[in-house]
Assembly symmetry: C2
Homo-oligomer: 224 residues x 2
Amino acid sequence: MKRPRTAPAPGPKAAGGASLPPLREKKQELVRTALRDAALDLFLEKGFEAVRVEEITARAGVSRRTFFRYFASKDDLMAHGVDEFREVVRRVAEDSPRNIRPLELFRRTAAEVARISAAAPRSKDVVRIILASPGARMAQMTRVAAVEDVLEKAFRSRCRGREERKAAGIFAAMTLAAVGAILREWCLADGARVERITEQVLGAFERSLAGAAGKGAGGRCKSA
Amino acid sequence: MKRPRTAPAPGPKAAGGASLPPLREKKQELVRTALRDAALDLFLEKGFEAVRVEEITARAGVSRRTFFRYFASKDDLMAHGVDEFREVVRRVAEDSPRNIRPLELFRRTAAEVARISAAAPRSKDVVRIILASPGARMAQMTRVAAVEDVLEKAFRSRCRGREERKAAGIFAAMTLAAVGAILREWCLADGARVERITEQVLGAFERSLAGAAGKGAGGRCKSA
DNA sequence: ATGATAGATGGCACTGAGTGTCATTGTCAA
DNA sequence: TTGACAATGACACTCAGTGCCATCTATCAT
């Protein structure tokens, strides 16, 4: 559990876009990736929960204290890049016509977030770790929840009535779950492109939603 | 974060359904509810993250060590009764005709889980705490994830093709998100019955899904 | 170049969650 | 009553996370 006692942390200049001397920034990035690579390797070897911060820092060659200047917590390592999803989500919502149906916004957002996720460094390793360790899954979800709130707002503005806005949260959760399903299949499928998997999963979902007979294997039509 | 170092814990006879002498069981239940009530009150007063276990045990009149014999963690307090959802989900799936569409199973499961949740002791307080404290929300999600896995299996058996089964996870997440939305509205709505809120939210969602003009307020028909 | 400055690191001590162990107390059944 | 066993409290311990400060190093003005 997070214990947000007081201030954020002194640490490296927070990487907050602000201009920073070149060599310093280079070194920061070096330490950050060393830490992250060491951690991901260890998570793959021993499972997320079995790895202590001390082991990570030992492998990366920095002190325990320095670790917490780069990452807020062990969980934070699993959430790398998740924060930028907030912007992605906002952008997709803005770029989409104002009057598309929620289901269409769902499709676009899920596809885009999945695309970005898959392109991130060591993305398959991250998925593998999450599939293997419940703790890692939780660490992810903690961060993803913040994205869900932004997503919910986006969906709210696409729902017509006051009543229907209450369902925006369901669309938001659907979207993130779809991303999860896509990434999982993409990780298991041997070398397929994300775009293909995305169409496959999203298509399957929409067919199941409609209840119409799909073109897929074993698709018997059975009226409810 | 959970650190599952070794064994579960010695503690009270684990409440595992096994027959236990009457007086012992009574006392256990007394301590458990004292602990839970004290915790919930404190969470409402100060927010989930600001409450230390020590404060809870002080108010309940037991030692710190005893707390961890009744609850695995502070988070565990927020997940009271969530575990039984697994059984509820299984039961709903079994009681439903084999050939209903996933969307119908979604509706039935969400409605039933929401009904059970609302009937739990102090359920509105729990929702209130979750709405106020991000940490409490996470604590819930951690446990709910286990239910999601059971739910996913249930949905998988309702999806026709091998391809469509890949979408089962999306239905599972949808369902739990719907429960969350229902409970939130139920908590905000003044004294309305859960059943009414359930119909409202689920109906709104399905209308939004179809994109057809609903009967609800402000439902203009707008073709995409 | 050189020295002042600001940022980065490491070490240490501290809080708080969670766990193992054991002596003590209380309940139950014979 | 007494022996077996469950529950409790006290203590010590591990590990995550944080504040503080001394030290080191890159940057920049002179």
